[in-house]
Subunit: 577 residues, 2 copies
């Protein structure tokens, strides 16, 4: 029974930061070495970050990335950790084109590489735009253990590269991933990897990226399953983490023919590379497998939103955020997320009442600031709004919009004066139906709840307040902001329900139309009323321009606007007729 | 020598408008029939429009599109043109997935279909996201002439489907295209098609889409080459057109084995379908081949910009446009484009002087309106700007930006009151380096010169004025707007050259860095000064957020921002160190 101690380094990289990401790999290799790990596994594209988008097509960047991987091998050896086998994702390029690649580093050298075979090109992925697929597999023997490599989508193919590794025979599969968060996605990943372990008849170690990158959030949650599909260890989600696991590997358990140095299996060329043939001397198992508990649904979403915001601010070199405090639920939840992400002292709230603002809007905004302990100021918009209205004789929708727009411009002006990142507070329901003012409430550099339906915003608010109570802290969100009926307050007595169906019904319909891609007939069959479907679907189909102009925000569902759903602006198609 | 009269229907479709596009096909088939054409060829995806983007993934849309093609066959027969063979692009879907398809319609039926083989997935194209590739070819015999079919990218492959048609033997290739405009692209298309004609040993008819669709412009310019590569006929660019050509086809000239009913050639299954075996009785050739002269470089770009603007306005149901008249060159050129696209009466100019505006800004704006004969008003921004500055104590960049933003909000307010589409007047140079104010001069629904470098803006202005003089008309652009040094006029005495290199140098550098994708070392080798490269490249790398937030505008180069170049927002990579 050969032993091996592996470490999965769940790190938070930054796209394009080759030198910062290299430093991260060196540092986490040091930690793995100090924990006695023999192999340390990093995520997909850890060195250039993920996704690099069109940087992959810039020769200067691919060259720098190729150079960085050899320099990294040297740096690790120079730091005294050359005996650890480091498996890390990077960007390569050859005569055929750019490659989504993995390198094994050992004793100061790149001892093996492999290219990703299956390039996802759906949803958020555009990998066929960037990469050429690999056609070979590398099996690396270290301490007498045969390691097979797989990059993300390669795992998702039945009878694909992992099956080929199984036929060739490996003792352990190391899988590098940059798998973006979606609600409850770990419920899909673990069974998938379990099936692959059974196929390859070996344990599989699944290392995932963690952190926010623009509108993607990577949730980590790296894990290891054994050859029988039993979950051996799991890292927490939404935190950098080193998951160390001692493996007792069955002697030559795989079915493959280990005598072959090179072969073609299931159409793929398989090459063997031996670092050391001799198993480790038996050693006492010191690492008890760590099994992080899965988060509750609300905790998982909240953590994803917090991490996305934190990383967007940090990676873009901001230190603080500024947003309008309307007294309503959306800005309250965004402010609470920001306080969790950055600390209260980095949150600047501005109440911008107009003549249509209710007394409770003003008091709920102040109450939010009090509860969070953040910065707060009041800047009435009346004088400036009046200056526009008087000069241009505005009325109706123009007068409603100018109020929202004066607020947007005030936030931008304060941002220019003080250097904060402005947050837009719109939710997914508003974006879906276009219930927002472009250049008004849509102003900002980041939109933290862009992919959260209105009814979920309320759920998250209740959940966050309850968590605070459990911990004996002040619930951050004013209860009145949760319970009062939502209103844009752009004209006297206005309520959201003047323009929109009840949010519970609206969100259910949107979940079916947008999330489920269901057509008109199907929606009627599901029990929705034809008039409501007609009205809502028309609103959704016509709001694409507003959605495209909205700031980026974290994707937490399979059908996030912008990233996952790309509709033409000029679009004469409507499902309802 | 069998004869055949073919018509290439270069039509302007609208994405999603299945019924409107069907009507268009019926109408242009009627015109072709009245010209005695036996075959009429429409562009790629003429029925659903191009590009449909994620509409291709909506089951309701693909079903409607499939239904529309059979209904179209009936409609053409009902209109009395069933004897014309109509070849039209449409969206299909089968168990494998959606298909970029072509259908041949004859006597009320769909008599043949074929799927696109090569799916482009670079630049503006994402076809591997949407479509599954075809594996069969159809050869259709009508009046004893064997017609092969090819869809756009299929033509661009050496030894691809067209070579297979050549091996199988055809008398004529009908190629359906939705090939977006790029400067001087017809110089590439004609030689390419000439090579294919030689490969297949038969004439090739190339029908291209025409019209604007969001940020793409299709330039038309459909043409026919004979088997020897001689250009027989060419349609004008940037206009709907029916190009009718009488062909005298050599008797069984192809090298292929015509006896085979079905075969596998170069890995592709080829099927034969016979509509009529009997050649036409000899008839007198009445159509003299039409050979539209290629446009000059400036005329081509100007026409592309006019058509893009015209179609964006029309297809999105606007009737008029509104823009700020600053007195500068950019707004003058956009206004002149708008007047050419929509007529002067649909153009609304607003001069919005501030306390920093020069006398010539005001007079040049008024002069522009006078020359164009468009609507014009003056709305000083001083009072509103002062309201912000006083209340928020703004200074520096915040004070500069608020002036641009008040202008943006004024335009939006007037748009809300009067229903015009707001045009943003920024050029490619500004976008490249981020020399614009988000929510200020970047406000609008469409940005007509987004892909035109500043030096090109001047060239186009001079060219348009010279054209007017040639025609004895008033040159639309005030000469002073062309000759004066550019300034944003956001502070006293400000000039663009305070912040930017001279535009001639800047544009040349941008053309090399952005257009040519050249790296730092390469730019130095090309003779650019290291300090300038460093400064400009940093500006470009940091302006991605502003570029993403900019309104859509027509792409006229290979590397248009947004569509062709997709960089991460969080991007720590800089080519210069």
């Amino acid at each position: 029974m050969p032993q091996l101690r592996i470490a999965l380094a769940q790190v938070n990289t930054t796209v394009g930061d080759l030198s910062g990401n290299s430093d991260l790999v060196v540092e986490w290799t040091r930690r793995a070495a100090s924990d006695g790990a023999h192999v340390v596994l990093f995520p997909e594209m850890a060195l250039p970050g993920y996704p690099v988008e069109d940087l992959a097509l810039r020769g200067a960047f691919t060259e720098a990335s190729r150079a960085a991987v050899t320099e990294l091998a040297t740096a690790i050896a120079d730091a005294g950790h050359g005996d650890v086998c480091v498996v890390v994702g990077y960007l390569d390029a050859d005569d055929v084109g750019p490659r989504n690649a993995v390198a094994a580093l050992y004793r100061g050298e790149v001892v093996a590489t492999q290219y990703k075979h299956h390039l996802p090109n759906y949803g958020v992925f555009d990998e066929r735009r960037y990469f050429e697929p690999g056609t070979t597999l590398t099996v690396l023997r270290t301490h007498g253990v045969d390691l097979g490599l797989a990059i993300c989508e390669d795992l998702w193919q039945e009878g694909g590269p992992v099956a080929a590794l199984g036929a060739f025979g490996v003792d352990l599969v190391l899988a590098l991933n940059a798998s973006p968060y979606e609600r409850a996605k770990s419920d899909v990943r673990v069974p998938l990897v379990t099936r692959r372990a059974a196929e390859v008849k070996a344990p599989v170690a699944y290392a995932n990226l963690v952190g926010g990158q623009d509108d993607l959030v990577f949730d980590g949650g790296s894990f290891v399953v054994d050859a029988d599909g039993v979950l051996l260890a799991r890292a927490p989600q939404f935190a950098e983490h080193l998951l160390v696991v001692d493996l007792d590997l069955p002697e030559r358990r795989g079915t493959g023919d280990r005598s072959r140095g090179e072969a073609r299996v299931e159409g793929l060329a398989v090459r063997r590379r031996v670092l050391s043939d001799v198993p480790l001397d038996p050693y006492p198992v010191t690492y008890r497998p760590e099994l992080a508990e899965p988060l509750s649904d609300e905790a998982e979403i909240w953590s994803a939103l917090v991490m996305a915001l934190q990383d967007y601010v940090r990676k873009n070199n901001f230190r603080s955020v500024l947003l309008g405090f309307s007294g309503g639920i959306d800005s309250a939840v965004v402010a609470a997320l920001a306080a969790d992400a950055l600390g209260s002292d980095a949150v600047y709230g501005v109440s911008m009442p107009s003549k249509y603002s209710s007394a409770h809007s003003r008091s709920d905004a102040a109450e939010l600031a009090r509860r969070l302990g953040c910065h707060f100021r009041v800047e009435p918009v009346e004088n400036i709004v009046a200056a526009y209205v008087d000069q241009l004789q505005l009325e109706g929708v123009a007068e409603e919009n100018i109020q929202a727009r004066v607020r947007g411009m005030m936030l931008m002006a304060l941002s220019n004066m003080e250097g904060h990142l402005v947050l837009a507070t719109g939710n997914k329901t508003e974006l879906a139906v276009g219930y927002s003012t472009i250049y008004g409430d849509a102003v900002g550099g980041f939109a933290p709840i862009k992919d959260v339906f209105k009814t979920q915003v309320w759920e998250l608010a209740r959940w966050r307040n309850a968590e605070a109570e459990k911990r004996g802290e002040t619930p951050p969100i004013p209860p009145n902001s949760i319970t009062k009926p939502p209103s844009a307050e752009l004209r006297p007595g206005q309520l959201d329900t003047d323009s929109l169906p009840d949010y519970a019904l609206l969100d259910e319909l949107l979940e079916n139309y947008v999330g489920g891609d269901r057509g008109f007939a199907d929606l009627l069959a599901a029990g929705f009323d034809a008039e409501t479907v007609d009205r809502v679907v028309r609103m959704v189909d016509r709001a694409e321009y507003k959605r495209r102009q909205y700031p980026p925000g974290p994707k937490i569902t399979f059908k996030a606007f912008g990233r996952d759903r790309r509709l033409p602006l000029t679009n004469a198609w409507h499902e309802v007729h």
